[in-house]
């Protein structure tokens, strides 16, 4: 017997019971997860201990009791004293002369004297545990619910099962939601890492773009001014020529026009026009550079995850190098490229870009001396592609080496690294069915090795 049952108090009238608000089954099931067993309460009218077996059998026929396996037996004062099940009645009535032998006896003769009694405040989980410990097969009985005032009603085992199921479903939904939130916040982290590294890039890129923009604008302004001079020269010369050839009457201002031609010719001569051509060549070059930078930037800002494409890893390396060019140039870092013959790779180019960018900017940041050197090598091996990024920077301490791919692990000063760069790179490479390894010697340098299957994640060896 459960503790709940032993703690049961003996108290007032049971006749109140029938007048409690009727609760239908559907309602009970809906409310169940909210209020424990109270939500499953059925205000079943109990039978008295002295009621005859035949009368109880009659009561089972009452349509209000159609859904019940058993009826509670409650003494005056509201104390439940037993439970009588249809099963038990049927067992007795099916015996020869069962009806005649037991029909007139009080129900106490047949009832289960130790029914399952649970307080209304019991939680669904606890009720489920108690029922599981108590239940017999086949399930023949429901259970009695009590409150401080004594008998409160009955509860159905089936309802408890439904409620448990409901709660399990709710929990798994909660888990799903938590998982979804986690996934979203991770992709947010990936995103913010991308933004942070982009933010560092922006400064350099703005400079890279404004430099050509500077001379392009200046050259165009000067060309416009020179063209104005040239136009005036042509019209002045025309006027002079017309006057000389007699095409037109010489104007009074012919002398002035002559002077103008003389003056303008010093400004618009063959040499000046040659210079102008040179400026326009520079301008075309500058506009091309700006276009290229914008194109690179577009590659890096692409957020699509899916886009699996065939890509040339060497081109990705070159494009990533262009993005970090300003950092490398500012620190006078020499870049050694050893690019091999590489077959096109099945990958998400924007993601591989992110990995390369991360490795390159880490390499640049690791170099604190003035003889900086970064080696980038690619090589095809069987059905795999190897990418090596090696620097001669300060290296990584042995105790940090095993943690560099951990999320949030950083040795950079606050605000300079999110600690997510390598963790994300690691994830991206794994998603491509590849691997990323690091080796380092403090004071000498660090080498990252990325291995990617040529045929993408699908073709990766298991």
């Amino acid at each position: 017997m459960t503790a709940a049952l032993q703690a049961f108090p003996t108290a007032p009238i049971a006749s109140d019971v029938a007048s409690r608000d009727a609760t239908n089954d559907a309602d009970a099931r809906d409310r169940a997860p909210l209020s424990g067993l109270a939500g499953l309460l059925l205000p079943t009218e109990p039978v008295r201990p002295e009621t005859s077996v035949l009368d109880v059998a009659q009561q089972f026929l009452d349509s209000r009791h159609a859904g019940l396996l058993s009826l509670p037996v409650v003494a005056v004062g509201g104390r439940p004293v037993g439970m009588i099940s249809r099963y038990e009645l049927m067992r007795v009535f099916l015996q020869p002369y069962g009806r005649e032998l037991y029909g007139r006896r009080p129900i106490t003769a047949l009832m289960d004297r130790a029914p399952l009694v649970l307080p209304l405040s019991t939680s669904i989980d606890e009720a489920a545990r108690t029922i599981a410990a108590h239940v017999r097969s086949p399930i023949t009985d429901d259970f009695v619910l009590v409150d401080d005032a004594g008998y409160a009603g009955t509860g159905l085992v089936l309802d408890v099962l439904h409620a448990v199921e409901h709660r399990l479903a709710e929990r798994s939904r909660e888990l799903e939601r938590a998982y979804a939130r986690l996934k979203a916040s991770q992709s947010q982290l990936v995103q913010s890492e991308k933004m942070a590294s982009l933010g560092q890039m922006v400064a350099g890129l703005v400079h890279e773009i404004n430099t050509p923009l500077g001379y392009v604008r200046n050259n165009v302004e000067m060309t416009r001014a020179a063209l104005g001079d040239a136009a005036r020269l042509v019209s002045a010369q025309q006027a002079v020529i017309d006057a000389l050839t007699g095409e037109a009457e010489p104007d009074d201002d012919l002398d002035t026009r002559f002077a103008e031609v003389g003056h303008l010719r010093t400004r618009v001569d063959a040499a000046a026009l040659d210079d102008l051509c040179g400026l326009l060549d520079d301008t075309v070059h500058g506009v091309g550079q700006i276009g290229e930078l914008v194109l690179n930037l577009k590659d890096f800002s692409r957020l699509d995850q899916a886009g699996l494409q065939k890509a040339d890893i060497n081109r990705l390396v070159e494009s990533a190098l262009r993005i970090v060019a300003h950092v490398l140039r500012k620190r006078d870092i020499e870049v050694v490229l050893k690019l091999g013959e590489i077959p096109p790779l099945d990958c998400a180019p924007a993601q591989i870009n992110q990995v390369l960018l991360n490795l390159l900017s880490n390499a640049a940041q690791a170099i604190e001396h003035e003889r900086g050197r970064i080696v980038v090598a690619t090589q095809a091996l069987d059905r795999r592609v190897l990418v090596v990024v090696e620097d001669n920077g300060k290296g990584i301490e042995a105790e940090h080496l095993s943690r560099v791919f951990d999320p949030f692990f950083t040795t950079k000063p606050v605000g300079q690294g999110t600690g997510m760069g390598l963790a994300i790179s690691h994830q991206i490479v794994e998603q491509h069915g590849g691997a990323i390894r690091v080796s380092s010697k403090p004071g000498t340098g660090t080498r990252f090795l990325v291995v990617l299957p040529v045929s993408g994640a699908a073709g990766a060896a298991p």
């Binding site: 430099t211 500077g214 001379y215 200046n218 050259n219 302004e221 000067m222 300003h326």
Partner: protein
């Protein structure tokens, strides 16, 4: 015969920028160009250069480093930064270390650059001539900075004023004004050597006032203390306000002390050699003082202008 053309040195690691600039300034000045910061410094050491226009981001030496060296070797040379990207650290260093005349961003407007460089060249030629006429003496003799100097602190909190008071010798009068009106009244009534202003918002009256003030009182030097990491604001304060120092709040004691000492010395120098004032000429503010200006503030401005007129007369 007219004076020889002023010499202008352009420093940029992009050849095409130099080519473009050579073309723009052809016939206007003697043009020197180099892609190396070190070579630029060498040049200034070897021969008079009136104006140096340098890029900021270059391999080897940054523009600010170049200009700081230039200032050390040839104080009369005017220094201009011409750069494609203004990060806050570079702009702050350009004020505090480079004491630059203008901060110009790429892409530049051709006419503005020409005008600015020519203006700078005029000032530099004047100063070169002055230095030649008064050899050694003026440059070497220490100026007595403390005499009757007056410092105004615009600080709505008061902590900065207390710190300034503590850092300066007793002979210097430190006046504290909690608001702009008070500061302007101080300026109208007294000859103020240095204004130290705490700047808490980029678009407030204070930044505008500092710019206006430089036009009326070129000899008064401004030190701005602010927590705003806003490079655009600072570029405005350089070009339109010739701010003397910009310190990020909380300003390190030593930096503030050195800034104050340098400002007082510069002020004394400017007072004895008013010819030098042209170095502090400013661009017209891009916009007029804000429309929210109160009556009291307008009153203070009027008094300040009248006082400035009297001084000139």
């Amino acid at each position: 015969m007219s004076a020889p053309l002023p010499s202008v040195l352009f420093v940029d690691d992009e050849e095409r920028i130099l080519r473009s600039l050579r073309m723009l300034f052809r016939g206007r000045c003697e043009i020197l160009t180099t892609t190396s910061g070190r070579e630029a410094v060498e040049w200034v050491r070897r021969r008079p250069v009136h104006v140096v226009v340098s890029d900021q981001r270059m391999p080897g030496m940054t523009g600010v480093e170049v200009l700081r060296e230039v200032a050390a070797h040839s104080p009369a040379t005017m220094r201009i930064l011409l750069t494609g990207y203004a990060d806050m650290d570079a702009v702050t260093a350009s004020v505090n270390d480079g004491e630059i005349y203008r901060f110009i961003e790429k892409p530049w407007v051709a006419q503005y650059l020409v005008d600015t460089v020519e203006q700078a060249a005029r000032v530099a030629r004047h100063d070169f001539a002055l230095a030649a006429a008064r050899p050694a003496a003026s440059a070497a003799s220490p100026v007595d900075t403390a005499v009757a100097a007056r410092v105004a602190v615009l600080d709505d909190e008061g902590a900065l004023a207390a710190q300034v008071r503590e850092l300066l010798p007793a002979a210097v009068r430190v006046e504290h004004a909690p608001d702009l009106e008070g500061t302007l009244e101080l300026l109208a009534d007294h000859d103020v050597a240095v204004v130290i202003a705490r700047l808490s918002s980029a678009d407030g009256d204070v930044a505008d006032a500092l710019k206006q003030l430089k036009r009326l009182r070129p000899a008064t030097l401004a030190i701005v203390v602010s927590s705003l990491r806003d490079s655009r604001l600072l570029i405005g304060l350089i070009n339109e306000g010739q701010v003397f120092r910009f310190l990020l709040q909380p300003a390190p004691r030593e930096l503030l002390r050195r800034g104050l000492a340098a400002a007082l010395e510069r002020h004394a120098h400017l007072r004895t050699q008013s010819d030098l004032l042209q170095r502090h000429a400013v661009d017209a503010p891009r916009h007029e003082p804000v429309a929210t200006t109160t009556g009291r503030l307008l009153q203070a401005w009027r008094r300040l202008r009248e006082a400035a007129m009297l001084r000139i007369a």
